[in-house]
């Protein structure tokens, strides 16, 4: 089985390196095929491992030593257990799909080869992240996905906005990574090891304060990667990258790493329910917060990104409340339908020549039937309509909130579910229904390549049926995760809740359809709604990016300039130069002592004598006074 582990892990790396070889040469499909093929291999291996793990085994290998000094020992160790194998499946499935899809999507791009190099590298990093058996290895993957995310967001490096967004994403993640690093340090100095098994075995022996801090710092790391408030702004900006990237990284895999971390570290978080509650509350807040921003946005990808953010909030609610398996389940389901949604959006973008404003589209269902169906179904799944995947995972989280008696969270999440349905279908309605507004802009949309649609179909399938794996999944993961079942014990309450939620969501969908399916104009910012305070607040993302810009970025730059020009040059360096100059100036000013005139020279000699005499007399007087 170790062989499969290595294949699953390193096949993407090989694909990446292979593509990188061609990085500087003109586009060749070879890279796309090879990379996709290797990813498929990885997927197959993962699947084999899944079956193996389902048989109740785990695979744990230690490849080699990485760092060893003092008492620190960090190996490259990998573990395939019930949790990581689920993640591996998610990652490999989605990434295989995205790879194949990208062959078509990036068809016309000059950086085709480079794209696959980065994309496969990302998958490799993600695999390291999920498969590592220790926190340091996790951190390698953690940073690795950050790097690849940087490279892929800024893939179109000639675009200022893209590179800006790339840097923003990287730096924001770094802020969080610092927290994670500190968490790792704390683990090491308190436990003496970073291996999961050791840490989880020993964690209980630590004082609760330390565990709390560890939990907090690790969660800070998770917040960055999963774009939780207040480190959320990068995710929306990251939509500057190619759409497959958004699908893979910013929907299905990387952003869920934070959730994975919390799930993986469940023995820690189990001990600190207060932190868990905080995580849950933050999750609930982010869910609502992100959904609200999605309501008014006019950028197709950003809307989906906010939706991702919102769903991540759900996952954190579950994880925070101790329902780790639920969180992981939603993670999985979400990966499928959100990736699908993004890929669909990619098709639309292609068709619309990279136009992102849904108000400029409309009526596309006629030309893009396949995409239309897929996106609609994905949205249905997202909205959580029975029997699609979303229903099983998302409603479960609502139930968790309810069962755990966190009614505020429950209410928030319920409300968010409605909003989710609304904005999802607002998007669908605006794109696919109504008048063909794109004609105003002289665009001739066309459906994507057939193979791209075929490539997407597995996701569609999974988005529809993932819910049915619930019990299999449950049986699998409870080997590692707490096996709490979340059932509303009262039948009546249960049904009222379920049906009520469904009705609420349906209503939202209908409302969206009603409002937007017959839209016929492109808003120009003059309407009353667009000028209302609430709209502006949402439109400007609660002014948070602006706030960051004004409070952090600009002052930092200004401060840097001051540090350089005022402090470094004018104080630190000038002091040094001043000392040197003072010495030199002293020389310049006193060199006239030696003015070449003999008389002066003689006087200096006599002067020297007199000074010495004066000192001698003074000393003598003092000496006599003392001795007398």
């Amino acid at each position: 089985m170790e062989l499969y582990l290595y294949i699953a892990l390193f096949a993407p790396l090989v694909g990446s390196l292979f593509s990188a070889l061609f990085g500087m040469t003109p586009k060749t499909y070879l890279t796309g095929y090879i990379a996709s093929g290797l990813l498929f291999t990885s997927f197959v291996s993962s699947a084999i491992l899944l079956t193996y793990v389902m048989g109740g085994h785990t695979v744990h290998v230690e490849m080699m030593t990485w760092m060893a000094t003092g008492d620190l020992y960090i190996p490259f160790g990998f573990v395939v257990d019930q949790v990581s194998v689920v993640m591996m499946m998610v990652v490999t499935i989605v990434s295989t799909v995205v790879h194949i899809y990208s062959v078509g999507y990036m068809d016309h791009d000059k950086g085709f080869n480079r794209f696959f190099a980065w994309l496969s590298a990302f998958v490799f990093s993600m695999m390291v992240l999920v498969m590592s058996d220790n926190f340091a290895g996790l951190f390698i993957g953690w940073e690795g996905v950050g790097l690849c995310s940087w490279g892929l967001i800024g893939f179109w490096y000639h675009k200022e906005s893209a590179t800006w967004a790339a840097n923003e994403a990287f730096i924001m993640n770094r802020i969080a990574d610092l927290g994670m690093l500190i968490g790792i340090f704390m683990l090491y100095w308190n436990v003496g090891s970073l291996q999961y098994d050791v840490v989880f075995a020993e964690i209980g022996n630590l004082p609760i304060v330390i565990i709390t801090w560890i939990g907090i710092f690790l969660f800070i790391g998770a917040m960055g990667k999963s774009a939780q408030f207040p480190l959320h702004t990068w995710l929306a900006d990251a939509m500057e990258g190619p759409t497959p990237v958004s699908a893979l990284i910013h929907a299905a895999t990387m952003v869920t790493a934070g959730v994975y971390l919390v799930v993986r570290a469940n023995p820690i978080y189990d001990l600190i329910p207060n932190v868990g509650l905080f995580i849950a509350s933050l999750g609930a807040f982010v869910a609502l917060f992100a959904a609200s921003m999605a309501l008014v946005n006019r950028d197709m990808k950003r809307i989906i990104a906010y939706s991702t953010l919102s769903q991540l909030g759900y996952m954190f609610v579950a994880a925070g409340l101790g329902a780790y398996w639920v969180a992981l389940f939603h993670l999985m389901a979400h990966a499928f339908f959100k990736a699908l949604l993004f890929l669909g959006a990619g098709n639309v973008m292609h068709a619309m020549h990279d136009e992102l404003d849904p108000f400029k589209m409309g009526g596309l269902r006629k030309v893009m039937k396949g995409t239309f169906i897929m996106m609609t179904l994905a949205s249905v799944a997202l909205a959580g309509i029975y029997p699609f995947a979303g229903f099983f995972s998302k409603d479960l989280i609502l139930e968790v909130g309810f069962v755990e008696h966190h009614y505020v969270i429950y209410t928030v999440l319920l409300l968010t579910a409605g909003l989710t349905a609304f904005y999802s279908f607002r998007l669908v309605a605006l794109i696919f229904h109504g008048e063909e507004r794109y004609k105003l802009f002289g665009i001739h949309p066309h459906e994507a390549y057939k193979f791209m649609l075929v490539a997407m179909s597995p996701l569609l399938l999974l988005a529809m049926i993932a819910g049915s794996f619930k019990m299999t999944y449950y049986q699998l993961v409870i080997n590692l995760l707490p096996s709490t079942q979340y059932h509303v014990h009262n039948e009546v309450t249960f049904w009222i809740m379920t049906i009520g939620t469904q009705l609420f969501v349906m209503a939202a969908i209908l409302f969206a359809y009603k409002k937007y399916s017959n839209w016929n104009s492109v808003p120009d910012g003059s309407s009353k709604m667009e000028n209302s305070f609430g709209y502006k607040l949402l439109w400007n993302q609660y002014y948070i990016p602006k706030f960051y810009e004004e409070v952090f970025s600009k002052p930092y730059l200004e401060l840097s300039k001051i540090a350089w020009k005022q402090i470094d040059l004018k104080i630190v360096d000038a002091t040094v130069d001043m000392i040197a100059n003072a010495i030199y100036k002293t020389g310049e000013n006193t060199r006239d002592i030696q003015n070449g005139n003999l008389s002066t020279m003689l006087r200096w000699m006599v002067f020297g004598l007199i000074v010495l005499l004066a000192l001698a007399v003074a000393f003598t007087v003092g000496y006599n006074a003392v001795s007398a």
Partner: protein
Amino acid sequence: MEITLTHYLVLSSVLFAIGLIGVMRRKNLLMLFFATEILLNATNVAFAAISHYMGDLSGQMFAFFIIAIAASEVAIGLGLLIVWYKRTGKIDLDQMNSMRG
């Protein structure tokens, strides 16, 4: 009133100071050399006096050698002044300032 060694020492100091003033004051090199002679003479008086009051001959020897030194200095000093004068026609030390700093 007895004349003690102190009297001579004081006299010697006064003469020495006069010499110093001359050395500092004179710009004419020849006359400056006069002043240096005064310095040495002032010392000689003291040497002789100490020698007398201590009953020791070394002081007189010292004075004797100082006279010899003074004589030698005059020879060299005048020689230098002569070449200098032949070149410039002046023996004013204010003229000597080609080197400074």
